[in-house]
Amino acid sequence: MIERVVDFFGDERYASQRRRLFYLVLVLVVIADFLVPREHAEYLWDRLPGWSAVYGFGSCVLLIFVSKFLGHQGGIMRREDYYD
C-alpha cells in the first residue's frame, strides 16, 4: 500500500493525475475557507476568507526570492572550498 502511494507521487505516469488532484485540493480548501464559521476575529485578516491562502503563497514566493537574492547578491553563498 505504502509503496503504491509513494509511487503515485514519484512516477511520471501519474503526473497529470497528480496535477489535477492538486488543483482540486486547492479549490476545495478555498471553498471550505469561505464556508467555515468565524466567531471571534482578533485581527483584520481573520475576517477575510482565503487570506491564509494568499499569505501562504506570498510568503513562499517572498522567502524563495529574498533568500536567493541574499545568497547570490548578498554574498552568503560561496564555493564549497571557501573555508579550506
Binding site: 480548501v29 491564509s52 499569505y55 501562504g56 524563495i64 545568497g71 560561496r78
Partner: protein, 586 residues
C-alpha cells in the same frame, strides 16, 4: 531518597557496562536502560530531592515539577528511539557518549541549583562533541573542535553569570530571575541562548550537526537546544527580548534553508527556525505561551529526530549527503519516504499531526497577547517550514531527477525507530489530550476548530503551489552558506596571521632586548645559584639519600622472598597490634 531514582544516575552508571556487553545481551541492555528511565520519569512525584550543603552553598540535585517532567518524559522517550536507531552499531564508544549525553541533559532538567546545572551543562557539551568526533575524517574533527570551543566559551560565560548572580543574591538555587536584568542575568541569558542556537549564536549547530555520525546527529537534534529551551522557560519567562529573538530566529532558519544543499544542514537550519517558536513563546511568557513552548518542544523532538533519521538513512545507504547528488530514491526506499513524510507533515503542522496541536498554541498565544507582527512572522515561517522540509528536501532527496543510485531500505532497527517516532507524531496530533495534561499550566486551547483547519490547509497548500510554480528557482546549488561561524573560521585565520606576522616581530624585538641586556645578569645570578646549590643543598640531599640507601639495604636483607616468613611477620604484627590495642589504647 529511596522514593526517588534520578534518571541521570540510570544513564551515567548504566553507561559503564556497555563496553563489556556484546551481542543480543548488549542490545537488550541498551534498550533496557532508557525503558527503565521512562518508567522512572512517569512514576515520579513532584518535590525536592537531594538537598545538601557543599562549600557553604545549598545544592539541590533534583527539583521535580510539571515543567521538568514534560521535558524529562520526552527526553527519555527520545533516548529509547535513538538507541533503537543506533542498535546496529558495534562500537561501544558512541553508545556510551549517547548515554552520558542523555544523562547530562536529564541532569540539567532536574537541576535545582546552578552548580548542578553547570556541571551537567558541560557534560552535555563534551559527550555530544564525541558524537561529532566519532564520524572521523578531517572535516568532522575540525567541526567537532569548533563545536567544543564554542560550547566551552558559552559555558564560561554562563559560569561568569552564575558567580555574579551568586555573589549578588547569596543564593545559587535555580529559578526565575526576578527584578532588574543586571550583568549576571545577561551573562546567564547569553549562555542559555547560545545553547538554544539563537542567532547570532546559532552557527555551532548548523556547522556541527551535519558532520556528526548518522546516529549521533539524531541524538544531537533532540537534546542540546531543548535543554536550553527548558532553562530559558525556567529562568526567563516573559523576557521581552526573547519574543523578538524568537521571531527573528524562526525566519532566519527558514531563509538559510532555501540556500542549503546539505540535507542534514537544511534540517539543522529548521531546528533554529522551530526553536524560534519556543523562544518566542517563552518571551511572551503567558501561561498559554509557556505551555505552547513546552508542548512544541515535546513534539519537535519527536518529528525532528524522525526527519534526521530519514536523512540519516539516506546517507547511511547511499553515502551521499548533498541534494545535488541525490534523487530518485523513492523506488528503492518507499518506507523511508513515507516515514520521513510523516515527520515533514508534523513539522509543517498539518491537521492530525503533532505540530498542528503544539505550534498553533504558540501562535495563538502571540495573538491573544496582541502581537500581530509576531503572529505574521511565525505564520510566514510555517510556510517556509513546509516549503523546505515538506517539499524541497523530499523532492530533491527522494524524487526529482533520478541519479540511478544503488539503494535499499536501511537496516530494520532504523526503520523501527522511525516508525516509533512516526506513530507518536500522529498520536499526539490526533489525541493531544495526554500531552496537554502533562503541560505546566492548565490548557484552555482547542486546536481542532473549522477555521484553524481551513486556514492551516490554505497556508500549506498554497505554499505548495508556490513551490510547484517556482521549482526551478529552488534547484539546489553546489555552494555553502556563510553564517556567523565566519567570524571564528575566517576570523581565526586573520588572528593567526596577526599572531604570526606583527606579533611575532614584536616578540622577536623584545627577546633581542632581553638577550643583550637581561641575559648576562641572569647568567651571573644562575652561577651564584649553582654554587649555593652544590655546596649547600646537594650536600643535604646526598646525605639523606645515603641514609635511605643504607636503610634500603637493611630492608633488602630482611626480604627473604619466602612466603612463610611474610606470613610470620604479619602474624607477629597482628599480635603486636592487638597487644597495643588491648594495653595502650584503653
Amino acid at each position: 531518597m529511596t522514593d526517588f531514582v534520578h534518571p541521570t544516575l540510570l544513564f551515567i552508571l548504566g553507561a559503564l557496562p556497555i563496553p563489556f556487553l556484546r551481542g543480543p545481551i548488549g542490545k537488550a541492555y541498551l534498550l533496557l536502560i532508557p525503558t527503565l528511565a521512562i518508567v522512572v520519569v512517569l512514576t515520579m512525584q513532584p518535590g525536592n530531592y537531594g538537598a545538601a550543603q557543599i562549600i557553604g552553598q545549598e545544592i539541590l540535585v533534583a527539583k521535580v515539577d510539571k515543567l521538568s517532567i514534560v521535558f524529562a518524559t520526552v527526553f527519555t522517550i527520545m533516548a529509547l528511539i535513538g538507541m533503537v536507531y543506533a542498535l546496529h552499531l558495534t562500537h561501544a564508544g558512541q553508545h556510551v557518549a549517547a548515554f552520558i549525553y542523555v544523562g547530562s541533559a536529564l541532569g540539567v532538567v532536574f537541576a535545582g541549583d546552578y552548580l548542578t546545572l553547570f556541571l551537567f551543562w558541560e557534560g552535555m557539551a563534551f559527550a555530544s562533541a564525541y558524537l561529532v568526533f566519532a564520524q572521523g575524517g578531517r572535516k568532522a574533527v575540525a567541526a567537532g573542535f569548533r563545536y567544543l570551543m564554542v560550547h566551552i566559551t558559552g559555558g564560561v560565560v554562563l559560569l561568569g553569570g552564575i558567580i555574579l548572580h551568586g555573589v549578588a543574591t547569596g543564593l545559587l538555587l535555580f529559578g526565575p530571575i526576578e527584578g532588574e536584568m543586571g550583568a549576571a542575568a545577561y551573562l546567564i541569558l547569553a549562555g542559555f541562548t547560545l545553547n538554544a542556537a539563537v542567532p547570532p549564536l546559532n552557527a555551532w549547530l548548523t556547522d556541527a550537526y551535519p558532520e556528526a555520525t548518522v546516529t549521533g546527529a539524531v541524538f544531537m537534534s533532540a537534546f542540546t537546544t531543548k535543554t536550553a529551551v527548558y532553562v530559558l522557560a525556567r529562568a526567563f519567562p516573559g523576557t521581552e527580548l526573547l519574543v523578538w529573538l524568537g521571531a527573528v530566529m524562526a525566519l532566519y532558519g527558514v531563509i538559510y534553508a532555501v540556500l542549503e544543499n546539505d540535507c542534514r544542514r537544511l534540517l539543522a537550519y529548521h531546528i533554529v527556525s522551530q526553536v524560534g517558536y519556543m523562544v518566542a513563546g517563552i518571551g511572551i511568557g503567558t501561561e498559554m505561551a509557556v505551555n505552547g513552548a513546552a508542548s512544541h518542544a515535546f513534539a519537535h523532538i519527536l518529528y525532528k529526530s524522525l526527519l534526521f533519521m530519514g536523512a540519516g538513512a539516506v546517507i547511511y545507504v547511499t553515502g551521499r549527503r548533498k541534494l545535488t547528488e541525490l534523487g530518485g530514491l523513492y523506488r528503492t526506499m518507499p518506507l523511508t519516504v513515507a516515514l520521513y513524510m510523516v515527520g515533514a507533515f508534523a513539522i509543517s503542522a498539518f491537521p492530525f499531526f503533532s505540530g498542528f496541536v503544539t505550534k498553533s498554541m504558540v501562535v495563538a498565544a502571540a495573538g491573544q497577547d496582541h502581537r500581530a507582527l509576531v503572529v505574521l512572522a511565525l505564520t510566514m515561517a510555517s510556510s517556509g517550514t513546509f516549503l523546505h522540509t515538506g517539499l524541497k528536501l523530499p523532492y530533491y532527496m527522494f524524487f526529482g531527477s533520478d541519479q540511478k543510485l544503488e539503494a535499499r531500505e536501511p537496516p530494520r532497527n532504523m526503520l523501527v525507530a522511525m516508525g516509533m517516532a512516526a506513530v507518536l507524531c500522529i498520536a499526539i496530533g490526533v489525541f493531544p489530550q495526554p500531552l496537554y495534561a502533562l503541560l505546566p499550566y492548565p490548557v484552555d486551547f482547542q486546536p481542532y476548530t473549522g477555521v484553524h483547519i481551513t486556514e492551516s490547509l490554505g497556508l500549506l497548500m498554497f505554499t505548495a503551489l508556490g513551490f510547484v510554480l517556482f521549482l526551478k528557482s529552488l534547484d539546489p546549488e553546489n555552494t555553502i552558506s556563510i553564517d556567523t561561524d565566519w567570524f571564528y573560521r575566517k576570523g581565526a585565520k586573520y588572528f593567526m596571521w596577526l599572531a604570526e606576522k606583527p606579533l611575532a616581530r614584536y616578540e622577536k624585538a623584545v627577546s633581542n632586548v632581553s638577550e643583550t641586556a637581561v641575559l648576562p645578569f641572569l647568567h651571573g645570578a644562575a652561577r651564584t645559584g649553582l654554587r649555593i646549590d652544590i655546596a649547600g643543598v646537594d650536600a643535604v640531599v646526598n646525605g639523606v639519600a645515603r641514609s635511605i640507601l643504607g636503610g634500603g639495604g637493611a630492608l633488602r636483607r630482611l626480604q627473604t622472598g619466602v612466603v612463610t616468613h611474610y606470613v610470620l611477620a604479619m602474624i607477629v604484627g597482628l599480635i603486636a597490634a592487638i597487644v597495643v590495642f588491648a594495653v595502650a589504647w584503653r
